[in-house]
C-alpha cells in the first residue's frame, strides 16, 4: 500500500495584487494613459494576463517551492495561519486555479470540497439542488439517483425536500449542502474548512462522516483551524508558513510546532508599523501585554490569581462603534472566551464614537478561572458587521500554573479549560 497518489513538486502560485502608483502623476501621464488605454486594454483582452512568473512589484507568491507526497489511504492535515497558502494549495489540487510553476500528479478521481452548497440556487427545491449540486461536484446522474434517499435522510429535511431552499433555515440549508458533499465518493478527497460552519451538532455529524471516509481507506487532504479535528482525523500533517512548507511530520508533532511557532513568549507583543496590514487604518495596534497583580509583565500566571490584559493602540481618525477585544484559546485552537471592551452597556453608551488618540483597553481575567496549561491570546478590533480593522489570531502564549488551584491535592490532570473554585454543599440525608 505504499503507492503515492499525490505528488506535489516545487509548486508555486503567484498572484497579482493591486499596486498604488509610486510617484505623483502629472496631467501629461494621465492624458497619455487615457489615450493609450484602449490599446493596452485590447492587448490584455487578447493575450490574457501574463501567467509567466515575474518578480516585479505588485505580485506576491501565495505558494512557493512546495513539495510533498501522499500515499494511498493516508489522511493528511494541512495547517497554517491565515494567508499561509492553504487555500491556494487546495485550489490548485482541485484544479480551480492553475499553478504558476511546478507540478502536481494525481492518481484517481479527485473530489474537492472547498465549500458546501456550491451552485445551490435559492429558487430551486431541495430535490432539484441535490441533483444540480451533485452534478457540479462531479457525480453522475445515476450515482445521485442511487444515493438520493440516503442523502435526504442524512440531511434530515425530508418534509421540505420539495420546498425552494430559500425558505430553508440556515441550518437546514447547510445540512442539505453537506449531505450531498458527504456522499461524493472520490478516490482523493480534498476538504477545506467546511466544518467550521453550522452548530455544534452539525459539526459533530460532519466530523463523524469525515472519519468514516478516512476509515474507508480513501486519501484525504484536510484543512482546518480546529486542531482537535486535525489531531483526531489525520495521521500526518504539513505546516505552511507564508507560502512555504516548513514542517512535514506526524500530526501531533506538526500541531505542536504550529502551536508554539510565531508566539511571543515574554508576555508582551509589540507591533511594528510594517507588520500592520494597510487596511487596518485608522486602527494602529501597538502592543498586547499580560501583567500580574504587581503590574509586572509576565508570561506565566497563577491559576488562583487574576491577571490584567492590555491592548494598546492608536486611532489616527475617529471610529464609530469600534470594539477592541481579546479571545482566549487553548493551544489546540478551541475558544475559551471572547470579550470586548464595550461589552458592558454603560461602556457601550460612553464609547459609541471613539475620537482619534492613543488608547489602552484593559481587562482583568479573574483568578480561580483557568485550568493549568498553555493558552493563546488573540486580538480583534472591529465594528459589528461592518469592518474588521485588525485581527491577530495568535498573539501571545501564556502559561497558567495550577499551584493552589482547587483539587490540586490529587496530582491528576483536570479536563476542560476552566478550573473554577465552586462552593460545594454536602448534605447528609440519612441520619
Amino acid at each position: 500500500m505504499n503507492e503515492v497518489v499525490i505528488r506535489v513538486d516545487k509548486l508555486g502560485k503567484q498572484y497579482r495584487i493591486g499596486l498604488a502608483p509610486d510617484r505623483y502623476r502629472t496631467l501629461r501621464d494621465t492624458v497619455v494613459d487615457t489615450v493609450t488605454l484602449p490599446f493596452r486594454t485590447a492587448r490584455t483582452l487578447l493575450a490574457g494576463p501574463s501567467m509567466r512568473p515575474g518578480n516585479g512589484k505588485g505580485t506576491i507568491w501565495a505558494l512557493r517551492d512546495v513539495s510533498f507526497e501522499v500515499q494511498r489511504g493516508q489522511v493528511l492535515g494541512i495547517i497554517g495561519r491565515n494567508g499561509a497558502g492553504k487555500s491556494t494549495l487546495l485550489k490548485i489540487l482541485s484544479r480551480v486555479t492553475e499553478p504558476t510553476e511546478g507540478s502536481v500528479e494525481l492518481r484517481g478521481r479527485v473530489g474537492a470540497l472547498l465549500e458546501v452548497g456550491t451552485g445551490f440556487h435559492l429558487e430551486l427545491t431541495g430535490r432539484e439542488n441535490i441533483y444540480l449540486n451533485g452534478a457540479i461536484l462531479g457525480m453522475k446522474r445515476t450515482e445521485i439517483e442511487r444515493k438520493f434517499d440516503e442523502i435526504v435522510a442524512f440531511s434530515e429535511v425530508e418534509q421540505f425536500i420539495d420546498t425552494p431552499v430559500k425558505r430553508y433555515s440556515s441550518g437546514m440549508y447547510l445540512r442539505l449542502a453537506f449531505a450531498v458533499a458527504a456522499h461524493l465518493e472520490p478516490e482523493i478527497l480534498v476538504v477545506d474548512e467546511v466544518l467550521a460552519v453550522g452548530d455544534a451538532e452539525f459539526q459533530r455529524k460532519c466530523l463523524g462522516k469525515m472519519s468514516d471516509v478516512a476509515q474507508e481507506g480513501r486519501t484525504v487532504l484536510f484543512v482546518s483551524h480546529n486542531m482537535s479535528a486535525i489531531l483526531r482525523l489525520t495521521e500526518r500533517a504539513i505546516v505552511l508558513e507564508k507560502g512555504k512548507l516548513v514542517m512535514q511530520a506526524p500530526t501531533a508533532q506538526a500541531v505542536d510546532y504550529y502551536m508554539s511557532s510565531g508566539f511571543s513568549d515574554i508576555g508582551e507583543r509589540q507591533w511594528q508599523p510594517e507588520e500592520v496590514p494597510a487596511d487596518a487604518a485608522p486602527f494602529i495596534p501597538l502592543a498586547l501585554r499580560v501583567k500580574d497583580r504587581q503590574g509586572r509583565v509576565v508570561d506565566t500566571m497563577r491559576s488562583t490569581e487574576p491577571i490584567t490584559v492590555e491592548v494598546e493602540y492608536k486611532l489616527s481618525s475617529p471610529i464609530t462603534g469600534l470594539r477592541v477585544g481579546i479571545y482566549l484559546l487553548t493551544l489546540r485552537g478551541e475558544y475559551v472566551f471572547t470579550s470586548f471592551d464595550i461589552d458592558q452597556p454603560e461602556k457601550f453608551e460612553l464609547y459609541g464614537a471613539r475620537p482619534a488618540g492613543h488608547y489602552i483597553s484593559r481587562c482583568v481575567i479573574p483568578g480561580d478561572f483557568l485550568n493549568d496549561g498553555r493558552y493563546a491570546l488573540a486580538v480583534n478590533a472591529s465594528t459589528f458587521r461592518m469592518k474588521r480593522y485588525f485581527q491577530d489570531d495568535r498573539v501571545l502564549a501564556i502559561t497558567v500554573d495550577g499551584t493552589g488551584a482547587p483539587g490540586k491535592q490529587w496530582p491528576e490532570p483536570r479536563l476542560g479549560p476552566v478550573r473554577p473554585r465552586l462552593e460545594w454543599q454536602i448534605e447528609r440525608l440519612n441520619v
Binding site: R16, G48, E98, V104, R107, T118, E123, I136
Partner: protein
C-alpha cells in the same frame, strides 16, 4: 475516471497539473466527460428563469409577439400592408424567432461567468459549460415561440388575400441547420464576450448597446433585398443575416436565395466559434483569480 484539463496529460489514470504555456489545446473531450453537467446547468437556467413570474413560460411567447406587434404597427400597419409580398407580421415574426434566441443568448451568456462566479472559484469543471448552458436554454423558449409561428402560418395560409401560401419544400429540412447556425453564432460571440467580461466588466455595460446595434444590421424589420446588390456579401458578414434570411427562405419561401450570402455567414460564424473557443481556453486559466 479523471477528466482532463488543457494543461494536463493523461496516462495510466494519472492527472498532471502544471502551468499551461502558449495557446494550449482545446480539449473538447472534457466537455463530453461533463455532458451531464451541461444538461443540469441548462435545466437550471430554464427552471430559474421563470420562477416567481406570474406568467411563467408565456414570456417566451410574449416577448417576441409583443415586439412583432410593435414593429408591425411601426412598419407594417398591422396585418394589412404586405412587405416583400408577405404579410408584415409573418415576415417579421419569422425573423424575430432566431433573433430573440440570439439576443437572449448574448445577454445571458455574456454575463453568465460573472453570475456564476461562486462556482468558478470553488469547484473545477470545464468553464465553457456556463455560457454553453445559457445559450442552450434559449432553445426551449425558441421552440415555444415556434408554435406561435406555426399558428400564424396556418392563419395566413387560409386567408386568401394574405399573399402567403404555404408550400412543402425541401427547404424545410434546412431549418435545423439554420437553428444550428444561430446557435453557433450565439455561442461564438458569447465565448468572446463572457471571457472578456471577466477581465473587464465594461463588456457587461457594452452588451445592451452591442445587441441593439447588431439588431439594426440584421434584416429583422426589413429585408436584405433593401441592401444594394454590391454590398450584400459584405452585409452577410453578419452571420445573423444568413440565419434570418435562411429562416424566411425555408419557412416562407421568400425570393432571397441564401446562396453566396449563406456561405459567407456560415464561414464567419465558424470563424467566430473557433476563435471564441481558443480565446475562452486562453482566458479560462485565470478566471478563478481574476473574477
Amino acid at each position: 475516471m479523471a477528466s482532463i484539463l488543457s494543461s494536463t496529460k493523461k496516462r495510466d489514470d494519472v492527472l498532471v497539473i502544471r502551468p499551461t504555456r502558449g495557446v494550449g489545446a482545446l480539449n473538447l473531450r472534457d466537455l463530453w466527460v461533463y455532458r451531464e453537467l451541461i444538461y443540469f446547468m441548462t435545466w437550471r437556467d430554464l427552471k430559474v428563469r421563470y420562477k416567481q413570474t406570474a406568467l411563467g413560460a408565456s414570456w417566451a411567447v410574449l416577448q417576441p409577439v409583443l415586439r412583432m406587434v410593435v414593429f408591425s404597427l411601426l412598419f407594417g400597419g398591422i396585418a394589412k400592408l404586405s412587405y416583400a409580398g408577405l404579410p408584415y407580421p409573418l415576415f417579421n415574426f419569422t425573423a424575430l424567432l432566431p433573433w430573440t434566441l440570439f439576443a437572449k443568448a448574448l445577454g445571458d451568456a455574456g454575463r453568465s461567468l460573472i453570475t456564476n462566479r461562486n462556482m468558478i472559484t470553488k469547484v473545477y469543471f470545464p468553464r465553457m459549460i456556463i455560457p454553453l448552458a445559457s445559450v442552450l436554454s434559449g432553445v426551449v423558449d425558441f421552440a415555444i415561440a415556434f408554435a406561435v409561428l406555426i399558428v400564424m402560418m396556418i392563419y395566413y395560409h387560409f386567408q386568401s388575400n394574405s399573399g402567403f401560401h404555404f408550400v412543402w419544400s425541401w427547404a424545410l429540412l434546412a431549418l435545423p441547420l439554420l437553428l444550428l447556425l444561430a446557435l453557433v453564432t450565439a455561442l461564438g460571440a458569447s465565448l468572446w464576450l463572457s471571457a472578456a467580461n471577466v477581465i473587464y466588466r465594461d463588456v457587461g455595460y457594452m452588451l445592451p448597446f452591442l445587441t441593439e446595434m447588431w439588431f439594426f444590421i440584421t434584416p429583422v424589420v426589413y429585408s436584405s433585398s433593401e441592401i444594394p446588390e454590391k454590398l450584400r456579401l459584405v452585409y452577410a458578414i453578419n452571420p445573423m443575416t444568413g440565419v434570418v434570411e435562411g429562416f424566411r427562405w425555408a419557412l416562407l419561401g421568400t425570393q432571397t436565395a441564401p446562396g453566396p450570402m449563406m456561405i459567407v455567414s456560415t464561414l464567419v460564424a465558424l470563424i467566430l466559434l473557433v476563435t471564441g473557443l481558443f480565446y475562452f481556453r486562453r482566458m479560462e486559466r485565470s478566471f478563478a483569480d481574476e473574477i
